[in-house]
């Protein structure tokens, strides 16, 4: 039976519609590839020379033609048809994305990661980077995923956090641990500052204003040279200490290093592992906080605001407070992530806080599935991790990035986590008898 259906599927390939469509896709690919792949500037002893390589164009078009044809054929295979049924999507979502066991497995994996046999310094470094984006995604998720306020300038708060630490250290000599809460508070303050003027805006208009806000912060960092160091940034930012014990080969006067204190040999790995666990702890605390908030009146109010602001008002919810709290809390997460980023890099400049960062963080939230913590974690691994792991592909790694994005959107158009689990369910107790309920109700 199954084999018959496969046969039938491939028979349908003879169907002209599929061929025509594949031909059209191949044609478009050829047109696009002609200027992009067909010509190439090459260095030669006589100066720059234009090389042609039309065979590449043919290959690209053929590849697209075949891929498209397979796409048509695969659609009709029984297995995939099953996977596309809405019921299956629900089961899959429930099985893989709502279970506490998935969270537990991910957390255990993250905790053990540095000790696994195949992980080296690079892997831990990349995982640290991914976790920074998980943290940023968690914050933006409050604003975009839960409260439904499209924010394209989120990177501004990340920058505020990073520069808070750098400047407070430079001017007042404060340490990382003193600056961390201050960075969060300052970023939250900037969140409020952005929140007030945009209270009345929504949708596209909100997006444009937040985009502008992000650019304003970027431009200030770039041009306020006496304070921010302008394009040169701020260098020599001290690394975080282990509650006062520095990670260094030799201790400062009268002090002890981390290695001395625990009586182990110094290794540069200590700091890398410590940074990893620090951001892991921060991301976990952040995720737990959001998980908890979603089950509180405030979190539900955010989601209600996303669904219908007018209905919120008509039920006595104050939209001003709800929006401002979303902006402030979301920004606070970015502030923490920024302070960590500054401490990890030891050097920051406006380069690190451009619009593309906002776009990546927003992609993480959208790809993850609006509102889902697990979804955005997986999306961060995919979006930040993949380009890192595909570094060998050099300039083609963005191609892999794009292909991955297209595939995911084909497979799960609403994001990785498609189903939102209700934050509250009825208890098992039976409905109160009408008389009793009447007595209880006001």
């Amino acid at each position: 039976m199954w084999r018959l259906r496969v046969l039938a599927a491939f028979h349908e390939l003879r169907d002209c519609a599929a061929l025509r469509d594949a031909g059209r896709a191949g044609g478009i690919a050829a047109v696009l590839a002609f200027p992009i792949l067909g010509f190439r500037l090459a260095d030669s002893p006589q100066g720059l020379r234009l090389e042609t390589r039309f065979s590449w164009v043919v290959f690209a078009a053929a590849a697209v033609f075949i891929a498209r044809l397979m796409h048509h054929g695969l659609h009709r295979l029984p297995g995939l048809a099953f996977a596309r049924a809405p019921g299956f999507a629900n089961i899959a979502a429930r099985a893989r994305f709502s279970e506490p066991s998935t969270y537990a497995a991910l957390i255990v994996f993250a905790v053990l990661l540095p000790w696994l046999p195949f992980t080296g310094r690079n892997t831990v470094d990349r995982a640290t980077l991914i976790l920074i984006y998980v943290m940023l995604g968690t914050g933006l998720n409050i604003v975009v995923g839960l409260a439904g306020l499209l924010d394209l300038g989120y990177v501004a708060f990340y920058a505020v956090g990073a520069y808070s630490y750098a400047l407070l250290w430079q001017n007042f000599g404060l340490s990382f641990w003193e600056c961390l809460p201050l960075a969060g508070a300052l970023a939250a303050g900037f969140g409020l500052a952005l929140g007030f003027p945009v209270l009345r805006l929504r949708g596209d208009y909100l997006a444009i204003v937040t985009l502008g806000f992000g650019e304003i912060v970027h431009v200030i960092l770039l041009n306020w040279t006496p304070v921010t160091g302008g394009p040169n940034g701020i260098a020599g930012i001290p690394r975080p200490t282990f509650f006062g014990l520095p990670f260094a080969p030799s201790a400062p006067e009268g002090g002890k290093t981390f290695a001395d204190y625990f009586g182990i040999a110094f290794s540069p790995l200590h700091r890398i592992y410590f940074l990893y666990y620090l951001i892991l702890a921060m991301a976990l605390i952040g995720a737990a906080l959001v998980w908890r908030l979603r089950r509180l009146p405030l979190g539900r109010a955010w989601e209600a605001l996303r669904e219908d602001e007018i209905a919120c008002q008509s039920l006595g919810l104050n939209p001003t407070i709800i929006k401002l709290s979303a902006f402030a809390l979301g920004a606070m997460f970015a502030g923490f992530a920024g302070a960590f980023f500054a401490a990890r890099q030891g050097f920051i400049s406006p380069e690190s806080f451009t619009f593309i960062e906002s776009a990546i963080i927003l992609s993480i939230v959208v790809l993850g599935g609006m509102g889902s913590q697990l979804g955005l974690t997986l999306a961060a691994i995919l979006l930040v991790g993949l380009p890192e792991w595909f570094r060998d592909l050099a300039e083609y790694r963005m191609l892999a990035f794009g292909a991955a994005m297209v595939l995911v959107m084909q497979w799960r158009p609403k994001g990785l986590a498609q189903r939102r689990a209700p934050t509250v369910r009825l208890g098992n107790a039976p409905a109160p008898a009408p008389a009793q309920a009447m007595a209880e109700a006001p």
Binding site: P297, C312, P319, V424, L426, A437
Partner: protein, 279 residues
């Protein structure tokens, strides 16, 4: 009009203009405590505008709207922000096209409606840590939600997405949600629109029960005369922004001005018979 101290809502000389058009023009009426009042009138008579003024979506330049909450000073609705009217005066409305939180579950819709009470009782710190105060507040909210799920026959759909419910259930859910906000005055904007005969019958029962069991006063805008005539104690007829009749349903039904407004007929027993049949 009987001018007793028991009036829950007193609207006096309310006027709302859009450019040169007075959508509501010098309108005065009262809604008594524990009364179901109906606001009727042809399309464009200003019914929804009046609703929007009452619930703070429009700020009328002229007029006074007082809500007497029993004790103390009355709430002056024209001076309050929209969400405060709902939160403090507890005038809760529904909408012509159900405005549910479509992406949230039915139960969550009902819990959000109790935001003010729950947030106040549970508190931020106690909420984040899950302390008993928060747990108790959540339990109370869930019990009230369960009560209204039961009353509106939506218990079986508690964990479904609100947006996935069929239309008739969405309308009922909106009423349940409004009731979860513990209104003093429940304002329903065309609750029977789009319902079939059986559904509007059960709506009648629900409205009468709400009034009887909870003492909630109801002000409803409605086109469906079967609902208006059967449940309301008091009918106010608007036409072109002006009150043209105000009284008991039976009186309003035979009022020649009302018949003229609805049918455009200057005279004639046919028109009166037509209204009698429609009613």
């Amino acid at each position: 009009m009987s001018a007793g101290p028991a009036a829950l809502l007193e609207v006096e000389h309310l006027t709302m203009r859009f450019g040169g058009i007075a959508a509501v023009n010098d309108v005065s009426f009262r809604v008594q405590t524990n009364e179901i009042a109906a606001l009727i009138g042809p399309n464009g008579a200003g019914k929804t505008t009046l609703f929007n003024c009452l619930t703070g979506f429009y700020k009328p330049p002229v007029g006074r709207m007082q809500l007497h909450a029993g004790d103390g000073k009355p709430f002056l609705l024209e001076r309050m922000e929209g969400f405060r009217i709902a939160r403090e005066a507890r005038v809760i409305r529904t909408f012509q096209n159900a405005r549910l939180f479509a992406g949230m579950s039915v139960l969550e819709n009902l819990i959000v409606a109790q935001h003010t009470a729950t947030a106040r009782a549970s508190g931020a710190v106690s909420g984040i840590l899950g302390l008993p105060a928060h747990r108790k507040a959540t339990r109370i909210a869930r019990d009230l939600a369960r009560h209204w799920l039961d009353r509106t026959g939506l218990m079986f759909a508690a964990d479904e997405l609100a947006g996935s419910l069929p239309y008739g259930m969405q309308r009922r859910l909106e009423i349940a949600r409004a009731m979860c906000a513990r209104p003093r005055l429940l304002c329903l904007d065309e609750p029977a629109a789009g319902l079939n005969a059986r559904e509007s019958d059960s709506l009648n029962t629900l409205l009468l029960d709400i009034r009887r069991e909870h003492g909630t006063s109801i002000l409803l805008v409605e086109h469906d005369m079967s609902v208006v005539m059967r449940v309301s104690d008091h009918v106010i007829v608007l036409d072109h922004g002006v009150v043209i009749a105000d009284g008991a349903p039976a009186d309003v039904r035979n009022n020649p001005d009302v018949i003229r407004a609805y049918l455009g007929a200057a005279n004639g027993t046919t028109a009166i018979r037509a209204v009698a049949i429609a009613c």
